[in-house]
Amino acid sequence: MNSIIDDIRAAARQLLADGKVDVVIGYEKGSLPLKSTPCFVRSPQDADKLIWDETCENNLATYAAQTAGKKAIIAKGCDSRALMVLLQENQLVRDDLYIIGVSCPGVIDKNKIEAETGEIIEATITDGKVSVKGIACDKEYNFADVKDATCQTCRYPNPVIVDLKIGGSVEVPQSDFADVIALENKSDAERKAYFKEQMSKCIRCYACRNACPMCYCQECFVDCNAPKWLTGGVDSAENLLFQTGRALHLAGRCVECGACSRACPQGVDIRALSRKVNKDVKEMYNHESGISEDIKPALNVYSADDPEEFLVKE
């Protein structure tokens, strides 16, 4: 990790010093234990702020289009997929973008730890072990056990598009849609109850949407007044309508970074919707978004023999 951090800092310093970019978007140490925070480095001397570890959970691609000028960006596998889709969707100019790719071992699920230890007072990560001093208790974890759920099903931990690759590659874990299948296998009533419970937690703060690199609409359908798709209500039905609409808007575009779920202050299982859509898109159209420049978003294309199981049975 340390050599990666050094390399990142060196690269950032060089890029800024050479005037190749105006800003390097990366991570710095956060104000809370096991938290990093996005940072915008604009001068070579500030490059030493940059860090790289298992707390670098934000998808920085979200900032890429919002940040003017030429920018370098630290990209994990999922972040790079997001950049790829954003490039395809005209949200970024390739020449203005310098992608510093870093293979990602996965990020930490702080909420999972705090559920046991209470609010964390202090924590360290060394050699795959996470030592935590919490308000309720102290505990040591294997990193693998407290890895974010998204990262446990990640199929692209290595960046798919880079200008500079830092560090080695990580092994691609075998992964399927076990999480989705588990939910699919539940009864209709159980699934309905599950989503109702999840949606009842939602406070419509839109952290999920705003953290999502693919949610870049000038005006989200939930905010639209004419037509008004939703009322301002925050009951589970309305919240589900919002999340379902959003999941459909991400169909064939979601890069499975999990930023939505991690951003949620309420711990809503938002990915449960997008994962289902991703599974369907993969199964029906053999499509994964943002893994190659040549692959068009699944809903922008069609095939004459696309599946039709959805048709009403007569």
Partner: protein, 338 residues
């Protein structure tokens, strides 16, 4: 004076007959204020609720009135429903926040009936903090983990019993129905003293912030502060003092209603005019607004900082924006005086 938890529990259960009793309840993995039918539902060892209790007086989405059109006739119905409520177990920071909200919803010209009809019918039983989270900084905001401001009764958890302190007349009245009190032991008294003298470990300096901000509207500090903010409403909606709202009409078929919904200054739409013009169209101006409102405008208007140091916005922020750092930044910012 103290009351045993067993006794308190019985009284609590009895209260539910007459009052809507709202208390911290664990639901779907989080502790929040919900209507409790019995004391056994109440979560005991919680730091603070995930969401602030403000929605009990100021719901996130509230029907103000409704109307029905039949043929050419229209009938209007007032939707305000009020019952007597006991709010149990709120922390001193949130109790203080209620006092700040009171200032918003009532002034010389106006009293918001939806808020105040509920507020006036609510008795607040505060519960002091035995444990203090690293994100708590109420001590910097003029209160403390056992502050009684805003509570009608203040309890301190002594294990098997609560230390009870009567703060207001309302509290005193309610106390009568809670049962007999007994004296504290010396050991218990020592615990009470410890809790009362406790301070948060995390501190910020707001001693000069209001004055400083007077001079900072055009400061370059705002140019970078906002940069990583995603513009979501997580901080506002989890803040016990944020109180902005939007009023809209919702019509389906021939029935409609006028509703009030939380809004927040971090969203670009908050200030979007019908014309398409948006006076606060940049994140920069929205973050400045947030800081100005809490630490300057509100102070000028209401004499108080609109932050109680609960730390919820710090925990809820998806990108770890920390209001303590933002305050620090203001303190450190260079102010050029003309």
């Amino acid at each position: 004076m103290k009351i045993s938890k067993e006794k308190f529990g019985q009284s609590f259960d009895a209260l539910t007959a007459e009052y809507q009793v709202v208390a911290p309840v664990s639901e779907a993995g989080a502790v929040n204020f919900k209507t409790a039918k019995s004391f056994s539902e109440v979560k005991q060892d919680y730091l603070n609720s995930k969401l602030p209790p403000k929605s009990l007086l100021f719901p996130q989405h509230e029907k103000l009135l409704s109307y029905v059109k039949e043929g050419k006739d229209i009938t209007v119905k007032n939707e305000l429903k009020v019952g007597k409520t006991v709010l149990f177990g709120i922390r001193p920071c949130d109790a203080k926040a209620m006092l700040l909200l009171d200032k918003v919803f009532k002034n010389d010209q106006y009293r918001d009936p939806y808020y105040f009809d509920r507020r006036d019918n609510t008795v607040i039983i505060g519960l002091a903090c035995n444990k203090i989270a690293p994100t708590c900084f109420c001590s910097s905001m003029g209160i403390s983990p056992a502050c009684s401001e805003g509570s009608d009764l203040l309890l301190i958890d002594l294990g098997d019993s609560y230390n009870v302190e009567v703060i207001t007349e309302k509290g005193k009245e309610l106390l009568a129905s809670l049962g007999e009190l007994s004296e504290l032991s010396a050991q218990e008294q020592a615990l009470v003293d410890t809790v009362k003298s406790a301070q948060t470990t995390s501190k910020v300096d707001v001693s000069t912030i209001t004055a400083k901000l007077d001079k900072m509207f055009d400061n370059s500090y705002w140019d970078t502060l906002h940069e990583k903010c995603l513009g979501c409403n997580a901080c506002s909606f989890s803040c016990p003092t944020c109180h902005c709202f939007d009023i809209s009409e919702e019509v389906i078929k021939s029935e409609g209603s006028r509703v009030r919904t939380w809004d927040a200054c971090m969203a670009p739409l908050f200030t979007l005019h019908g014309s398409g013009h948006n006076p606060r169209d940049k994140k920069k101006s929205r973050w400045r607004q947030r800081m100005m409102h809490k630490f300057n405008y509100f102070v000028h208007n209401n004499g108080d900082i609109a932050c109680v140091g609960c730390g919820r916005c710090i925990k809820g922020c998806p990108v770890n924006m920390d209001i303590r750092q933002a305050i620090d930044g203001v303190n450190k910012a260079e102010v050029v005086v003309d």
